[in-house]
Symmetry: C2
Subunit: 340 residues, 2 copies
């Protein structure tokens, strides 16, 4: 895989999006979200999605310019109609609305419908925590996960991110409630690698270690019954707050031609002051804790990704050949048409 | 184990608490919380705790009468000083304060410090959902859980409950972020049963299947690295909002003589209307889904506990001999002293 400079990646992606009619600011923000995923080694949320996003704009299921309309249901609750805008553009506008509300009210929530895929939730949770607030971010997704004890994909991967400020910088957790990502399954299928036992079911609902068969099947929830319960609770909660689709009715984040009908929820809370030092001290106790047999150290969630990000910002980002060519082609087409 | 009528259990527990100086309403509420855990077959949160609670009042680390003082940091955020009151009494007052706030603001949070153990979180999440609102409830606890890749108990069992209204009644998830409860470990030790591999470490941080050794050690987080990350995020979030203790500094829910310094957080959100039917339909799809090999059906979280509760309300509650005797003794002492 070629190592490409992060700034060049972002500029090429920004150009491609501008070629599709996205204004400079929105194009840069969307490119930043895709880059962030690549920097943290989550390529399923990275530039792989760029070509599809441009196609979605071309097909009229994603708006190049919308940033969402806001309907305040109370001083602490804004319902956002994303107007099919780009996920990060709609999300950023929603957060800009509720951050000051959280400051004055103590807590505020944005419930977003009709936005495209917002990318890695960690991006938002980190921004909230960096601004000194506590953040909870939830999204629903296409049904790729089987219920615990079930055979069929009926639940979204329903990720959650939580951001908490500490004196050493933001603490950020971002995880899907699936055991692994469908991206990981696709990656294994691409390499011809078997899956570990327990990761997935095939289309008939039987356990399989064949990654190709799993692509048409279902991924296990993480943590067995408990992870299933949490993923389901997140899905219901997002729908209760946004009115968006449930289960197999969710479409539009993995295809190029359907309106995106999942939901996103952002909760921002103003913390009591002075806890940042205690939290940093506690995290240091965990970092210094004696590791179990077979482990080098106790890791703090999010820190490996942050270290990798710093390294890739300095040394370049490995991007699949096919993805990098596609990005350049999109940029070149935009240039040739004089659109940027 | 004797089967005891639920009403009798509650009356005996109420009398015991009144004997310790708790007013009628608070005694009944606290007894209800303990009973609720017994009805749902979670005896670790049941009447086992009654004797210790009475001792805590006697020792001056729990107040028989306090219901907490409220400091509104904004129209959606109340900081509650529990004044060492009984957990359910403080929690109920906090919820009564934020439920109308959630209605008018859209969302509201109560951050509770200095309250005693509030009991099963499901109780509150169910009440919130039954009132037509969405609830998230978090508590921290004594450090009983080792970090993923660690050897020592450094994190609380940090449970979460989520309640979402549906047309078929409240959907409620309530789970600890530990793989199992310390109550389960004690129960296995009591019966002389071995633990399954992976549940726990001994005091030296080595994996063990000896329940007795595990009592002095640490429980695994559920769901490996992801469950660890979530449990840790919940602990930090509660501290950021309440200013309460972290990790091994948390005391007062398992002993009789230390002030309780964990925290509790209640978030109540007013949902968009009309989603109850869609949520009920989706849950029915899950209920009817074809089960995997080795399973009879796909379960909806909380429903087994609710069915058991109905059964026990009709047919009686199995209570350990020692617990039932202790409850009666406490009641009789109170009667003899003319305190009730």
């Amino acid at each position: 895989m070629p190592l490409v400079d992060a700034v060049e990646l972002r500029d090429v992606a920004t150009a491609a999006l501008k070629g599709a009619g996205v204004p400079e600011g929105g194009a840069r923000l969307q490119a930043d979200l895709l880059l962030d995923a690549e920097l943290r080694a989550v390529p399923s949320h990275g530039f792989l999605r760029l070509e599809r996003l441009v196609a979605r704009i071309g097909n009229g299921v994603a708006s190049a310019t919308a940033s969402g309309s806001h309907d305040w249901r109370g001083p602490g609750f804004v319902s956002v109609d994303g107007q099919n805008g780009l996920g990060p553009v709609v999300a950023e506008a929603a957060l800009a609305a509720i951050s000051p509300a959280a400051k004055s009210q103590g807590i505020a929530v944005a419930a977003v419908a009709n936005a495209n895929h917002i990318g890695m939730l960690a991006y938002y949770a980190e921004a909230i925590a960096r601004a000194g607030q506590v953040g909870i971010v939830l999204s629903t997704s296409e049904a790729l996960v089987h219920p615990y004890g079930g055979r069929q994909a009926l639940i979204g991967t329903n990720p959650i991110a939580i951001g908490v400020p500490s004196a050493d910088g933001p603490f950020v957790v971002d995880l899907a409630t699936s055991l692994v990502s469908m991206g990981e399954i696709h990656d294994r299928a691409h390499r011809g690698q078997a899956l570990p036992e327990g990761w997935a079911l095939d289309a008939q609902g039987n356990t399989t270690t064949d990654a190709e068969a799993a692509k048409a099947g279902a991924i296990a929830p993480f943590g067995a019954a408990k992870g299933y319960a949490l993923g389901l609770a997140f899905e219901l909660m997002v729908t209760a707050l946004t009115g968006t689709a449930l289960g197999r009715d969710v479409v539009g984040t993995l295809d190029a031609d359907q309106l995106c009908n999942k939901g996103d929820v952002f909760i921002v809370i103003d913390p009591v002051s002075g806890q940042g030092e205690a939290i940093a001290r506690y995290l240091e106790i965990l970092r210094q804790a004696e590791p179990a047999d077979g482990f080098d150290q106790v890791l703090i969630p999010g820190e490996r990704g942050r270290a990798l990000k710093a390294e890739r910002l300095r040394g370049g980002v490995p991007v699949a050949d096919s993805v990098w060519s596609s990005m350049q082609r999109l940029r070149d087409t935009a240039l040739a048409r004089g659109e940027i």
